[in-house]
């Protein structure tokens, strides 16, 4: 049974240093099942490092990361993906010289098992598996509205579609947790709106979403829970409303002098009113 507040991913006292820099410092976070959780913070706060720790690209110096109650630390990135965590990258990492369809097919690799010999002999089991894989990839591409681009090489896609393709590829791994690293980065207003709808749709289909985002319109618009990070530490967390009022957060983002042009509610305040 899915009770609200059931924890899917739990980070506790996770730390990671690079040389003398404590990128992530005793960081705690719970991602609740069925929610959209956002991780925000100024540039260099350590957000992407947290993602890389979860997905096994880095190994934490201390702490524990539990997914569905099982420890993730020490697992290789592909094992993390197989466990049910899919991700996208801040700087897009598509398979540029392959078609969009092939890109999305990659997600199904870890859910299938045909080997070399059965592929050469095209055994009935292999054929059946191929058909299933194609079907699943088709479903994911249609979900993000990219089926018409299936035979296009990834490198020929316009930027907004590249972001979508990465999400489709991640969805094809059949994840329980989808991690998005700045999905709205570089998108225009319309594309951002579509993306928000897409993310909400993904959540409603039963996949928990955890994202890093700078676009506050996105974060405040779709998040169920927001966690704020600065200098590797968690400085605040709560519902979007709570976080916006937290003085710690305002200080981290705006500085004490209040002289930044950054605004949380972009919709309410015109941009660039005061630039000192």
């Amino acid at each position: 049974m899915k009770t609200k507040g059931e924890v899917l991913l739990a980070l506790s006292k996770v730390s990671k240093s690079f040389g003398g820099l404590r990128a992530v410092d005793s960081f705690d976070l719970d991602v609740a099942l069925g929610n959209i959780t956002s991780l925000i913070g100024p540039n260099g706060a350590g957000k992407t490092t947290v993602f890389n720790l979860i997905t096994g690209i880095y190994r934490p110096d201390a702490g524990s990361i539990r997914f569905e109650g099982r420890e993730l630390i020490g697992r290789q990135p592909h094992q993390v993906a197989k466990a049910g965590i899919a991700r996208t990258f801040q700087t897009l990492r598509l398979f540029e010289n392959l078609t969009c369809f092939e890109n999305v097919l990659s997600g199904q690799h870890c859910r299938t098992s045909s080997g070399t010999m059965s592929s050469i002999l095209r055994t009935p089991a292999q054929k059946r598996e191929e058909a299933e894989v194609r079907h699943e990839a088709e479903r994911c591409m249609k979900l993000v509205g990219m089926w018409d681009f299936r035979d296009e090489l990834a490198r020929n896609l316009p930027y907004g579609y590249r972001r979508r393709l990465e999400i489709a590829r991640a969805l094809a791994t059949d994840p329980r947790l989808l991690i998005l690293d700045e999905p709205a980065g570089g998108l225009n207003e319309k594309e951002t709106g579509d993306l928000m709808e897409l993310i909400i749709g993904i959540r409603d289909s039963g996949i928990t979403v955890f994202l890093i985002e700078h676009d506050m319109q996105v974060v405040m618009g779709i998040s169920d829970w927001v966690s704020v990070m600065d200098n590797g530490r968690k400085i605040s967390e709560g519902t979007p409303c709570d976080v916006q009022r937290d003085p710690c957060v305002i200080e981290a983002y705006l500085g004490i002098d209040n002289d930044d042009d950054f605004c949380f509610e972009a919709s309410q305040e015109p941009e660039g009113t005061e630039i000192s």
């Binding site: 592909h78 398979f95 078609t99 997600g107 592929s119 292999q126 991640a170």
Partner: protein, 336 residues
């Protein structure tokens, strides 16, 4: 004006049968090629049949290296080491124990595959040029080991003379024409298997690793074992080719497996187009057949060669016949 229209009409009528010819060609091109291949030795002289035999051997080697370099993007410039292991396994087991060559074919492939797996395992995480340097080293180590005649097995610089031949129903395969059919039959089988692999889960995962290793891992692909599989399979095919090579050459010696040989194989893959099977066939033709055609200029062979490489890198870096992506439209048969 009228004259111009008339002319256009004329050319139009002249070109009209062309699409028919084109569609016939595209539909029948594989049977036509196979037919030409079967007829070729019946009309060509022994010299050119021999050239075609070596072309076929290099196609096999090129295809095996293409798995490693083209499909997965691992820069292996020591591929002739695995070819050597296959050839020597064949020669030693055949001469000492009289094992049949038909049995030695898979056995040599297996030996080279095991060697490939063991040698690649500790170095497979290396990237690009680092891997390239290490594989050059492996090539030299294997060659020098063969030269040093360990336990009197390899015959040192003189090599081994292997007298046995492939035998079929009491008939020994030793004429150039026999070898031609044998080698190109192996090419056909290998191409068939590799095309199927390319279009399967395994072939795709190799391409994912080549395109972006980190993204591939994030999609749940065990990149390390994917690379090891490719390396092992590539080494195994090269090893099996070694058996054919030993049967053809009779004398197996270390000088057939130098670093230069690896460079030629590497060039075949790059020249043809990474990951492209027709590219490998064309690339080996360029490396094996063209030098024969230009034998009169053999003094300047290396000069032509270097010049061609430079021009290729400038004007056609994707190779002679770049690999084409498989598309859903092709699959559904809606036309090309």
């Amino acid at each position: 004006m009228a004259e111009r229209i008339g002319r256009a009409d004329f050319t139009g009528r002249l070109m009209a049968p062309l699409p028919v010819v084109k569609s016939l060609l595209s539909k029948w091109r594989i049977p036509i090629l196979i037919g030409l291949g079967i007829v070729f030795p019946l009309v060509a002289g022994n010299y050119w049949i021999d050239v075609a035999v070596f072309w076929g051997i290099y196609v096999l080697l090129g295809l095996s290296l293409n798995i490693i370099v083209g499909e997965v993007g691992l820069f292996n410039m020591g591929h002739s080491a695995f070819f050597a292991i296959g050839a020597y396994t064949t020669a030693i087991l055949s001469e000492r124990f009289g094992v049949s060559l038909w049995l030695l074919l898979p056995l040599s492939g297996f030996a080279a595959g095991v060697a490939g797996y063991i040698l690649a395992k500790p170095i497979i995480h290396l990237r690009g040029d680092y891997l390239l340097i290490v594989t050059i080293g492996l090539n030299e180590i294997i060659r020098i080991t063969l030269l040093n005649n360990p336990w009197g097995l390899t015959g040192g610089p003189n090599g081994i003379i292997m007298l046995d031949q492939f035998r079929m129903f009491g008939y020994a395969i030793q004429r150039p024409m026999d070898f031609y059919y044998l080698v190109w039959a192996f090419v056909a089988i290998t191409v068939f298997a590799l095309v199927r692999l390319q279009r399967s889960r395994i072939g795709r995962c190799w391409n994912y690793v080549r395109e972006d290793e980190i993204a591939a891992a994030a999609m749940g692909i065990d990149t390390r074992s994917a690379k090891l599989l490719a390396f092992t399979l590539g080494a195994a095919i090269a090893g099996a080719t070694g058996t054919v090579f030993a049967a053809k050459l009779v004398v197996i010696s270390p000088e057939s497996f130098t670093f230069m040989e690896s460079v030629i194989l590497f060039t075949i893959v790059i020249l043809g187009g990474m990951g492209s099977i027709p590219g490998v066939i064309l690339g080996s033709a360029a490396m094996m057949v063209l030098p024969e055609l230009l034998r009169n200029f053999s003094k300047y062979r290396m000069l032509f060669f270097g010049l061609a490489m430079v021009l290729m890198m400038i004007f056609r870096p994707q190779g002679l016949w770049p690999s084409r992506r498989w598309t859903t439209i092709l699959r559904e048969g809606e036309g090309e």
